[in-house]
Symmetry: none
DNA sequence: AATGAATGAGCATTCATTCAT
DNA sequence: TATGAATGAATGCTCATTCAT
C-alpha cells in the first residue's frame, strides 16, 4: 500500500514538484502579471533550481496553460458531479453559479490568474474560449434548455445567448471581487445574480 | 481645408500626429498584443520615427492608457448627452447598453484592446476600475435607482450589484464577439440582454 | 565634396563601426575560438554596446560569415588582378601561392580564424567549400590547364586533383605556421612548395 | 565466444561500455558538430545513462581527446608495423599515404571528426599538433630522409617541409572527400598525390 | 557500477528609451 | 519638432556536470 511509503520518503516527489511549481507560478503570476514574472522567480518560490522548471514544463507559457487546464478540468468535473442528482433546472443553474464563485473565491491567486492574466492575450483567449469556456457555457445552456422544455423558462430567448449573459454576470462578480479593496465573500454574490436572471428568464 | 491649416498653424499637425500614433497603437496592440508590440512597429505604422513617439507619450504604457482615457472619455460624454433627453429609466438603460455595444462594434481593433489587452494587468485593471468603469457603472446605477424610485424596478435588489450584472453581461457579449470566428453585428446583442435584465429586475 | 566632412566628423562612421566590429570579432574569435567567444566581448573590443552589434549583423554566426566573405572576396579580387599581366602558367601558380601565404601571414588573427575557426563546422565548411574555396581552386586549376595546353605540365594528371594538392600543401603551411611556437615568416614557405610541385608536375 | 566472457568476468563490459560511448560520440560529433552535441545524445546513442558517461570520461572534451588518442595511436602503430618489412623509401611513403586514406575512408564519421571537429579549436589543434601530428610527420620525414641518404630524393629540399607538403596534400584529399556530395573511394586518391610528390622530389 | 533527477552558471538576442544632430 | 543610431539592462532556456540512491 502507498500509505506506508507516504510515511517515509515515498515517491510522490514528482507530483509534488510539479504541483509546487504550479502553485508557485500561480502566486507569482497573480502578484506580478505573466509578462513581468521571471521563471527564476517561480523557481525560487517553488524551492527548485531554474532548470528544474524545464523538467516539468516545456516553457513559461506551458506553465500558464497547465494552471488553466488543471483548474478548469477539476472545476468542470466537480460541476458535473454536483449536477448529477439535481433535476430542477433552476437548481442546476444555482449550483453551477455557486460552484463557480466558490472555487474562485477560495483561491485569490488562482482567481487573479483566471480573471486577469489569462485574458491578456487574444491567442490564449481563443484557446480558452475553445476549450474550457465552451464546455462551461454548454453546461449552462443545457440546464437552461431543460428548463425551457419543462416549461420553466421562456422559450422566446436563445439559450446560447442566455448562457453568455449568466456567465458574463458571474465573471464580472469575480473580477470586481479581485479588484475591490474591500474584502468580502465572493460566493454569496451568486444569489442576486441568479435572482435577477431566473426572474428575468422565467416563464410567467 | 486642411492645407490652409497646415500653412497657418502647427497645431493640427500636433493633434494629427498624436492621433496617428494612437490609431497606429490601437491597431498594433490589437493584432499583436500589448507585450508583443514594439514601439518601433507603432512608429512605422504611424509614419513617424521611433523617437517621435516619445515627444507625445512618456512611455509605451502611457500610450495604452491614452487609448483608454480618450475612448472612455468620449463614450461617457456621448452617453451623458444621449441620456439628457430621456426620462424613462428603462429607456436610459437601453440607450446605455446600445451605445456600449455600438461603440465597440464600430471599431474592432479598439474593441480588442478594450476587451483583451487592457485586461492583462492587475495594475491597469485597478486603475481602469477606479477611473472609467466606476463612472460607467455609476451611470447604470443611477438610471436603475431612478427606476426604483419611480416604482418601475424591484426595490429588494442592490443597485450596485445590478449595475455590475448588466455591465458583465454586456462585456461578455463584446468579448464573445471578438473571439468568434463568425462575423455578426455586435450592437443588436444588447436587446436580449436588456430583455432578460429588465424582465428580471422589473417590479410586478 | 566629402573630403571636407572627413576633416570634421564626417559620415564614414557607419562603415567604420561595421569594420570595427569585424576587426574586433576576428581578434576575439582568434583568441577564444568561435564558440567560446561572447558577443559582449566583441562589442567591448569594438568599443560599442552589445545591441549595436545587431544593427550591423543579424547574428553572431553572420559575423563569422562576413569575416570570411570580405576576406575571400578581397583575396580573389587581388589574385585576379595580379594574374592579369602574367602569361607564364608557372609564374601564375607562383603568384597565387605567394599571395595566399602573404595574406594569411600579414594578419595572424585572420589566419587563425581561417585555418582554425572556420573549419570547426561541417555546415560552414560546406558553404566555404562551395563559395570561396571552389573559386580559389578554379584559379589554380585554370592556370594549370593553361600550362598543360602549353606543353609545360604533364597531361597525364587530373587538373582538379592537382589543384587540391597544391592548395592542401599551402593550407598545411599556413596551419603549421599558426600553431608553431617559433615565429617565422609564412610567405617564403610558398617557395619549397612550388619547387616540389612544379618539378613534380612538369613535363619532361 | 563473447557469452563466456560476459559470464566469467566483468572486464569486457567495462571495455565494451567505454567503446560504446566512444563510438556513439564519434557518430554524434560527426553528425552535429562537437559544440552542438549534447552529452545526453551521446549517452542515448551509447545506450547508457547520462551519468554513466562520467564514470568513463572526465568531461565532454575528454571524450573528443580520447577519440583522437585512440585512433591516432592505432594508426601509427599499424603504420609502423606495415613499414617494418619495407626497405624502399618510396614504397614507405606510398604505404603511409595509402594507410592514411584507407583508415579515414573506412569510417566516415571518424573522418569527419578528424577533418572537421578536431580543427575547430586552437587549443586542441596545438595539442594535436604536438602529439599525433608530430609523430606522424616524423614517420614521413624519416622515410624521406632515408630516401635522401639513399640518393633517391633531392637533397636540396628540407625534409621537414617536405613532410608537411605531403601531409597537407593528403589532408586536403580527405577533407574534400568528406565535403563532396559525390560518393567515391578515398583510398585511391593517394596515388596521384604520391605520383606528383615523388616525381617532384626525386633526384634526377 | 549505474542511474537520471536536479542543479545553476552562462549567453545570444531584444527592444524601450535616449540624445546628438 | 523630428530623427534614428546607439544604448545596455533584462531574461528564457540549455546543458555539462553532480550526487543521492
Amino acid at each position: 500500500m502507498r500509505s506506508v511509503d507516504s510515511l517515509s520518503s515515498a515517491r510522490p516527489q514528482v507530483a509534488d514538484k510539479r504541483e509546487a511549481i504550479l502553485r508557485a507560478a500561480t502566486q507569482v503570476f497573480a502578484r506580478n502579471g505573466y509578462f513581468n514574472s521571471k521563471v527564476a522567480d517561480i523557481a525560487r518560490v517553488a524551492g527548485v533550481a531554474d532548470g528544474t522548471v524545464y523538467l516539468y514544463f516545456k516553457s513559461k507559457e506551458e506553465i500558464l496553460h497547465s494552471i488553466f487546464d488543471k483548474s478548469v478540468g477539476a472545476a468542470i468535473a466537480e460541476c458535473r458531479q454536483q449536477l448529477a442528482d439535481v433535476t430542477d433546472p433552476r437548481e442546476k443553474l444555482r449550483r453551477i453559479a455557486s460552484l463557480h464563485l466558490e472555487r474562485l473565491g477560495a483561491d485569490r491567486d488562482l482567481a487573479i490568474v483566471f480573471q486577469v492574466e489569462l485574458r491578456g492575450s487574444t491567442k490564449f483567449m481563443e484557446e480558452f474560449s475553445a476549450a474550457g469556456l465552451a464546455e462551461y457555457l454548454r453546461l449552462i445552456r443545457e440546464a437552461f434548455e431543460e428548463g425551457q422544455q419543462a416549461g420553466l423558462f421562456r422559450r422566446d430567448i436563445n439559450a446560447t445567448v442566455v448562457a453568455k449573459i449568466l456567465f458574463g454576470a458571474l465573471d464580472e462578480m469575480a473580477t470586481n471581487w479581485i479588484l475591490s479593496k474591500r474584502r468580502y465573500k465572493l460566493a454569496p454574490m451568486s444569489e442576486p445574480v441568479l435572482d435577477i436572471f431566473l426572474n428575468g428568464a422565467s416563464a410567467r
